[in-house]
Point group: C2
């Protein structure tokens, strides 16, 4: 028996309901694959603010550090939107990324044949789309200094943030991306704004240099504006994409939306060592929280990513992914992905269907 200590961060909104389903699925899969999970729950985001005044209490970070992997659901909600930014739920998420050194964010955007009609794009444009966005997660303009709102000499305010990358930061995420491309279609597209930004010139130079170590990978470069266009124009051209924190935030969401069902998309955030964080791409959906309407599949697929990338249990991961495909195949759908002729299930019932699948 393999033992794993898993930190659960249910967070806000629909977080607790979808987390409950993922935990049930993990328990069943654990039995089948002889894995024992010890779950420990901790507070983050709005839930943590309400209980402790802080979006990321230090005990939460400690609990995460003392675990083999972290499964996160969703954070945030209107309720906390008017707090100062360093006390908002998002600050908890950024603190978690920084605190655990999670510099590599993997965001797959894959069209599932069963859900292809959910896409707003034409079938022939998105059929077979399978993109992995590798986003740098602990650098760039999210963390660069100076940052803040300052008074100018004339008395007006001036907002400042700084986009910074060092060569070693670029190389580190570059390696993750080249390795990911190697396990996938062998193509890597690096996205930057090197025609305007010096930080992007350094990015492009360093990625180009690194590519000599990966002669089997076909490297291309796109400017971020063109990449946003190409994702809409011809998404099948992409295999693996690597980019900085801000561009990755934007492009991974655009790529996700090509599938038409962000309730289906998981993500992984990994560091050089220590536990990774696995979470759905979607948000906390406060409007349907507690109504047993949420789609738990992205959370369940995040648990699968945890097994694959965090715990090196690819068979158990495969098993979960197969179960998800099977429930879709048999026509089970939550409200966000329902279409005529399919079976509408609640969050919990979808979990039950998965366990039977």
């Amino acid at each position: 028996t393999q033992n794993y200590r898993i930190t659960l961060l249910p967070g806000d909104g629909i977080g607790p309901e979808i987390m409950a389903v993922a935990v049930d699925v993990l328990k069943v899969v654990g039995k089948q694959f002889d894995l024992k999970f010890e779950f420990q729950e901790a507070l983050i985001g709005g839930a943590a603010i309400d209980a402790t005044g802080e979006p990321l209490p230090s005990v939460t970070l400690d609990t995460c550090r003392n675990s083999d992997a972290v499964l996160l659901a969703a954070i945030g909600g209107y309720k906390w939107d008017s707090l100062p930014s360093n006390l908002r739920p998002e600050a908890g998420l950024l603190g978690l990324r920084a605190g655990l050194g999670l510099f590599a964010n993997l965001r797959p955007a894959k069209i599932l044949p069963q859900l292809i009609d959910a896409s707003t794009l034409k079938r022939e444009v998105v059929e077979g789309v399978d993109i992995m966005v590798v986003r740098e997660l602990t650098g760039g303009i999210y963390f660069g200094k100076p940052k803040g709102i300052f008074a100018t000499e004339t008395g007006e305010k001036r907002g400042v943030n700084t986009m910074v990358y060092t060569e070693s930061e670029i190389e580190r995420i570059g390696r993750v991306a080249f390795e990911a491309a190697r396990k996938r279609g062998g193509k890597l597209c690096s996205v930057d704004k090197a025609n305007v930004l010096e930080v992007s010139q350094l990015w492009r130079d360093r990625i180009t240099q690194l590519s000599t170590e990966y002669p089997d990978i076909e490297l291309s470069h796109l400017y971020v504006d063109n990449a946003a266009m190409q994702l809409v124009r011809a998404p099948k051209q992409f295999d693996t994409i690597v980019t900085g924190n801000l561009f990755g935030d934007i492009l991974s969401d655009a790529a996700a939306m090509l599938t038409g069902s962000i309730g289906m998309l998981p993500s992984a955030s990994l560091g050089a060592s220590g536990p990774g964080v696995f979470e759905p791409v979607h948000g906390s959906a406060p409007d349907i929280a507690g109504l047993d309407k949420a789609n738990p599949l992205a959370q369940v697929l995040s648990a699968a990513m945890m097994l694959r990338y965090g715990l090196d249990q690819p068979k158990a991961a495969d098993h979960i992914e197969q179960a998800v495909l099977q429930v879709l195949e048999q026509g089970d759908r939550t409200g966000d992905i329902i279409s005529p002729g399919k079976n509408l299930l609640g969050c919990r019932a979808m979990g039950d269907a998965l366990i039977l699948a």
Copy 2:
């Protein structure tokens, strides 16, 4: 008779061919509306680099300043891609924007019924889409300091760019956007990343404050990642969008691509006073340069925007826009927008069709 001095900047690639068509159209329309255009041509981009070593010779900037409006075609090409960034064609464009103080960039993305099938999105998703992106053009991370590539203490390189906005810069572009929304559907969506960036918090605060002066405009805010998603998910929700330089670069290109035919899209760049610059959204397409294959319609529609926003001649602008719709209606198409059953025309022949229309 009204006299106008117009600076023409044909630039690179297909620039000269599409510019020639726009000039012919302007001459004909000028006769009909009793407008006299005095055209003066100047060098920019790669063409200027080849002739003078500089992407924006000072004589070009002077010529532009001494005119009522500037019509630009396209700049850049593989040929100049390996030059240092301050000597590349793009530097000429950035220099022109800064030199003329063109802080407001208007980028319409409108679906034309005749070309709706060119979109990669489903008909019902894009039918009726009519978005105006108002992009700040002389501030933000494009021009903020410090910027450059510096050596760190450990000897590695560090790339830095700075995203900066002052309250007055935000207010200035905000006013343009509120006014634009007023002339359109009365809805304005401001896009930022206020959950992470201080510069965006200032942006959001200032736009919110400004909205009290425009009680007739319905203001909303979106984070840039969500905006990229929503453009793909449900583009009809947007009327006017206002955002900073970098986010505007990305989102206006994504919005443009929703139409499926960027060969059709014009743009306007305006300052507080002095001449504006009017140019197509598409690039210089070096691969088809000189082959009489280019689509001149974005260039012609840029001339219409020049008449409307630069010279206050809305009737002449309407006339050109009607002519474009008419050639499309009669089935005339260049190669980029051809579909079965339509008439394939070259660049010049499309110009002739416009003049007859």
